[in-house]
Symmetry: C2
Subunit: 134 residues, 2 copies
C-alpha cells in the first residue's frame, strides 16, 4: 500500500504524493520532472510544479526514487533501486536498464592512491528499431 510506504518514511500521505507514487508504480523508465508533470496532468491528476519538484527531492532523499543525470545533463528519476547499467541509443535517446556482471574492473587508480568504491558502466549504441531504420 502506497500510503504505508509514505508513513514508513515519516512522510504524510497527501494527494500529490500518492499520485506521484502511483505514477511511479505504474511505469518503468527514467523520467524528467517535466515528463512526470505532463503524465499526471494528462491523467487528470495534476499537481503543482513546485510540489512536484519538492517531492521528487524528498522522495530521493528518502530512497523512494533514484535521481540520475541523463546523457544531455537532464535530471531523471527512476524507481529501479538495484544497481544496474544503462544502454543508451545514440540516435533516438532510448534508455534501457540492463544487468551486467562486471568483471573485476580495477583501474590502475589503486596505484595512485584512490579507493574505488563503485564502478559505473554505460553502453552507447543503436537500439533495434534505429538499426532497422538505417
Amino acid at each position: 500500500m502506497l500510503q504505508h510506504l509514505l508513513e514508513d518514511h515519516g512522510l504524510r500521505a497527501t494527494q500529490p504524493r500518492l499520485r506521484l507514487l502511483e505514477f511511479f508504480a505504474g511505469t518503468r523508465g527514467h523520467f524528467t520532472p517535466e515528463e512526470i508533470f505532463g503524465h499526471l496532468r494528462a491523467q487528470g491528476q495534476p499537481i503543482s510544479i513546485a510540489t512536484l519538484y519538492q517531492n521528487l527531492r524528498t522522495f530521493s532523499e528518502h530512497g523512494l526514487v533514484k535521481e540520475m543525470i541523463g546523457q544531455e545533463g537532464e535530471v531523471r528519476y527512476d524507481t529501479n533501486m538495484e544497481p544496474h547499467s544503462h544502454m543508451v541509443c545514440v540516435r533516438c535517446g532510448r534508455l534501457t536498464d540492463i544487468h551486467v556482471e562486471l568483471p573485476d574492473l580495477r583501474p590502475p587508480a589503486q596505484g595512485h592512491g584512490w579507493l574505488i568504491m563503485q564502478t559505473r558502466v554505460d553502453f552507447h549504441g543503436l537500439c533495434p528499431e534505429c538499426q532497422a531504420r538505417a
Copy 2:
C-alpha cells in the same frame, strides 16, 4: 601556434578565442563555463559571457574541446580528446582522467538486438586527500 589552430578550422583568430585557447593550453582539467569565465577575468583577460558560450560551442563542434556532463549535470569542457575514463571523488568532487584497458565488456544486450558502439566506464570513490582526512 594557437592562431594556426583556429585558421585550420576555418575560424577567425579573434582576441576572445585566443584567450580561451590559451587558457585551455595552460591547464589540465574539466571546467564549467563559469569557472572558465572566472579564470579569464582573474587573469585580466575577461571575455563576454555570451562570447564564451558561443565559442565553447563552436570549439566543441570543431573538435577543439570536448563537452562532457559532470556528475551533478553540469556541463564541463576539457581538451583531452583521447578516449578515457574518469575517477570521481564522491566527497570532494575531484575528477581525474585515467586510462583503463577495457576488457571485452559485452553486455547481454547484443542478445536483445542492440548494437553497442561504445562503453563508458566511470569510477567513484575517494581520492587520496579525502582518505587521509577521514
